[in-house]
């Protein structure tokens, strides 16, 4: 059942580093994170890795496995051949702190720049009424576990450090869409999405959608509708003035 697997893991810090080779035991039913933990316990006690739930629910253990952005805890070893080398590297878009742990503060910074939910004036807590069909669109986006794999993947910032300032990334553009589609939210963030959060930089390649472990249709259901919104409004601003059709149309 068990076998000796070949791993190549990136080790280093913000000052640089490189891939190191390991031979390590792999057992039936294990995921990549189990093997990383075995390395920690038997060969490299100071190997840095971030994790928490080990069930794909907290979004802590994001990394790149054979070049693909993935969750370490949800990548089963059985998807690799026994003689295949499994290469594990940190997310590339964010600065490395150590080994597999990156500095994801970019994401927290962007989260703060999106104006929060604005509760409806005059509706007391307990009096909120919303139909299931109307909350479902935003609920899809709220499945997000904030693994930031989508932001890590998006070429707008993956290869262009300079865009980070003006681009919130798919995760937080989706957050704008989520709030805009909230049936009771009273703020308006549409123009801001374009002017301040970089919606225009997205050219709908759908790479973000492909890596999302929650299978959220980020591009089709959040980004494209937002783009249409912006375009509509440019074309005929009157239609949208003080109007909330976006969230109410079903």
């Amino acid at each position: 059942m068990g076998y000796q697997g070949h791993f190549r893991v990136w080790r280093g810090s913000d000052e640089g580093g490189g891939l190191e080779d390991f031979t390590v035991e792999v057992n039936e039913g294990e995921v990549v994170l189990d093997v990383i933990h075995r390395l920690q316990a038997t060969q490299t006690p100071d190997l840095a890795v971030r994790w928490n739930c080990k069930a794909g629910k907290c979004g802590s253990c994001s990394a790149e496995i054979n070049g693909k952005p993935r969750l370490l805890c949800m990548t089963r070893m059985s998807v690799f051949a026994e003689d295949e080398t499994v290469t594990v590297t940190p997310m590339r878009t964010f600065p490395v702190i150590r080994d597999l742990v990156t500095d994801v503060s970019y994401n927290y910074k962007k989260a703060r720049e999106i104006p929060a939910f604005k509760p409806p004036a005059g509706v007391a807590p307990g009096e909120y009424r919303m139909q299931q069909v109307d909350v479902e669109r935003s609920q899809e986006f709220r499945k997000c576990i904030e693994c930031f794999l989508c932001n890590n993947t998006c070429h707008v910032i993956r290869d262009h450090e300079e865009n980070k300032e003006s681009f919130a990334g798919p995760r937080f553009l989706m957050r704008v869409a989520e709030l805009e589609m909230h049936p009771l939210d009273e703020a308006d963030r549409v123009q801001e999405a374009q002017s301040q959060h970089g919606l225009g930089l997205c050219n709908i390649t759908k790479c973000c959608t492909e890596v999302c472990p929650e299978h959220i249709k980020i591009t089709d259901n959040a980004l494209i509708p937002m783009k249409e919104r912006v375009a509509d409004r440019r074309y005929d601003p009157i239609v949208w003035l003080g109007n909330k059709l976006f969230r109410n149309k079903s």
Partner: protein, 625 residues
């Protein structure tokens, strides 16, 4: 030695799960400069794992529900050992806390008339759990996180600094509280990444650190659950109660080995899933205890009718409180009627159409598909008990969350009393919100009433620092490895103070713990303080050991079975024991456990129960008085 990093706040909240974030929001709204210290990244706390829902008697699905009914269910679930005042506050305030989440932007599943939908759950008489599919914990964490951000945005608008009033210090571990003449003066700890030490000066600390599951081998809890807050409280001089009560969730995954213990939500059963043994028999009908006979169906036909017509049928026994179901599974496996990997079968595939399963239990479907290669719409799951929750914790004042140490507060899983001997599913998330808010307010009022701020003395800080670096200074020759010690501790707790307990085994456990404690004094870790998991574990072990000792010693003393404490040698529930709490304190390095009388239940609350029911729990003179 580099200069010690120092910060000063009014209120420190340790832990960023549901209770911690709700406490922090409250303290900030009371005008306190507030810091949240958490071991993981902001938004990753263990609360995200909660699946089923938040119990609150809103009566949206069944208008017969009320706080009184919720209170009754909670007391029944806890076998009347609960702190009745906490159970009362909880039942009364939970609806407001849920509605408040909507003002933070939470989006719960809806009823047809647009209100928050509520689902059935074990031990709850009516559909009561507000939920979002099976990812309610994530919704709760995210809503609180986003509320924190929105408060920070307000502060930014006003002061130009997002963090001027509410700041989160993430990936940070607190190792000790600093006291000044018995009062809280601050907290000492380290950045997990750099190992650098930090002193937080603050007159009030709210513990919201969650549970202790990592002391057990099979657990649904994440690495963060090392009993930090329990241990910090003990070392600061506070007391813990009810530590003998540990909840084993009946349904954890049992296979593959690397995911053993991960939770399978109770909603699977709430939504129609049934438990079967290897003979294909729905065995729960054989395990309905006397006290529940009038509420649970004794045949399949009636149980199945209940889903559509709960008014005229009794509930399926799969929905008995968690302790009952866990014990039943344990017995089936012991009797040789278990599944291949030592569990039983939980089947929803023959009970609901595939698309309905996908709609109601999407994350369970995902979890089994990805981790076990099982399609729950076509196959049964294999499940078995897993250490899930500790009912015991810091003894607090119900209204304010204050412990016996001035300036020290606790809320959520780290506090004790609310759930008595056994917690109902869904009562955890509501507990976090109700008592998180109360502890945040309690801490704020306490700080507001202080005439002078306690001071962190240099000696106390130096002492905390010495303790934290101790594992580096052991002599290598005899030194113990933290990973080995941890494994031995988990094995001992699992085998000797687990789901079924006996005096001899617990005696053995206490001895084993003494030995582990001795060996822990010679723990040695290699390397330096920069991200060093071995060192982190060595410091966490100090907490796990003292908390485990509380569990074992209290369990040995309580010679009855009740809720999350089942004894082979004392299988019955004893009304005299209901009136007693076991209180743990720490003197030097020894845990002491003493009996304390439980406060009698207030008469108007007692009047909510039928006399015939009270007879099952209360002593004769209590019933007369």
């Amino acid at each position: 030695m580099p200069e010690l990093e120092r910060h000063s706040f009014d209120v420190l909240v340790i832990g960023a799960g549901g209770a911690g974030l709700r406490a922090a929001i409250e303290a900030r709204e009371h005008g306190m400069r507030t810091a949240v210290l958490c071991k993981s990244l902001f938004g990753k706390a263990h609360t995200v794992m909660a699946e089923g829902g938040i119990a609150a008697a809103m009566g949206n699905v069944n208008s017969n529900d009320s706080w009184q009914v919720h209170f009754r269910d909670t007391m029944r679930g806890g076998k009347f050992l609960n702190n009745w005042r906490m159970a009362e506050l909880h039942a009364k305030e939970a609806p407001d806390r849920v509605w408040e989440l909507e003002t933070y932007g939470a989006l719960f599943d809806r009823t047809k008339d647009g209100r928050i939908s509520q689902r059935n759950f074990g031990g709850h008489e009516y559909p009561r759990l507000a939920h979002v599919g099976d990812r309610t914990g994530l919704e709760l964490i995210r809503s609180l996180q986003q509320k924190v951000v929105s408060l920070q945005q307000d502060d930014y608008a006003e002061t130009g600094d997002y963090e001027s009033r509410l700041k989160v210090f993430q990936e940070f571990t607190v190792t000790d509280l600093v006291l000044d003449d018995g009062k809280v003066a601050g907290a000492f700890g380290y950045w997990r990444e750099s190992g650098r030490f930090v002193l937080f000066e603050a007159p009030a600390v709210v513990l919201a650190t969650g549970g202790i599951g990592k002391s057990f081998k099979v657990t649904s809890n994440s690495w963060e659950y090392t009993g930090d807050g329990h241990a910090l409280a003990l070392r600061a001089g506070a007391s813990l109660i009810n530590m003998e009560f540990v909840q084993f969730h009946p349904t954890g995954m049992v296979w593959p080995p690397s995911v053993k213990g991960i939770l399978v939500t109770e909603s699977v059963r709430g939504d129609g899933g049934v438990l079967r043994n290897s003979d294909g028999k729905r065995f729960m009908f054989d395990y309905i205890p006397e006290v529940f006979k009038d509420k649970y169906a004794d045949n399949e036909a009636e149980a199945d009718r209940w889903y559509a017509d709960p008014g005229n049928n009794r509930r399926p026994p799969e929905l008995l409180p968690r302790d009952e179901v866990a014990r039943a599974i344990n017995s089936e496996v012991k009797a040789g009627r278990g599944s291949e990997h030592g569990g039983v079968f939980l089947d929803v595939s023959t009970r609901l159409p595939a698309e309905e399963i996908m709609r109601r239990l999407p994350s369970m479907h995902h979890q089994f598909k990805e981790l076990a290669d099982v399609d729950i719409t076509a196959q049964p799951m294999e499940v078995g008990p897993t250490c899930h929750y500790v009912m015991g914790g810091v003894q607090v004042d119900p209204d304010t969350g204050a412990s016996s140490v001035p300036g020290l507060f606790a809320a959520g899983e780290v506090s004790g009393g609310m759930h008595g001997s056994n917690r109902l599913g869904g009562n955890s998330l509501s507990d976090l919100l109700v008592f998180g808010r109360r502890a945040g307010a309690g801490a704020s009022d306490y700080v507001g009433g202080l005439s002078a701020r306690p001071v962190c003395s240099d000696e106390a800080v130096a002492e905390a620092e010495r303790t934290a670096v101790a594992p580096f200074s052991g002599s290598d020759a005899a030194g113990e490895n933290p990973y080995t010690l941890h494994m031995e501790l988990q094995q001992a707790m699992n085998d000797l103070v687990g789901i079924i307990r006996r005096a001899e085994e617990m005696d053995q456990a206490v001895k084993r713990l003494e030995e582990l404690k001795r060996r822990a004094a010679t723990l040695v870790v290699e390397g330096h303080r920069q991200f060093n998991p071995g060192w982190h574990l060595a410091l966490d072990l100090r907490n796990m050991l003292v908390v485990s000792e509380c569990v074992a010693r209290a369990a040995l003393l309580r010679t009855e079975s009740r809720g999350g404490h089942t004894r082979d040698d004392f299988p019955g529930m004893d009304a005299d024991w209901r009136r007693k709490l076991l209180v743990c304190t720490l003197t030097g390095s020894s845990v002491e456990v003493v009996e304390e009388p439980q406060l009698p239940i207030r008469s108007d609350l007692l009047a909510l129960f039928e006399q015939s029911e009270l007879q099952k729990y209360l002593t004769a003179d209590e019933l007369e008085g």
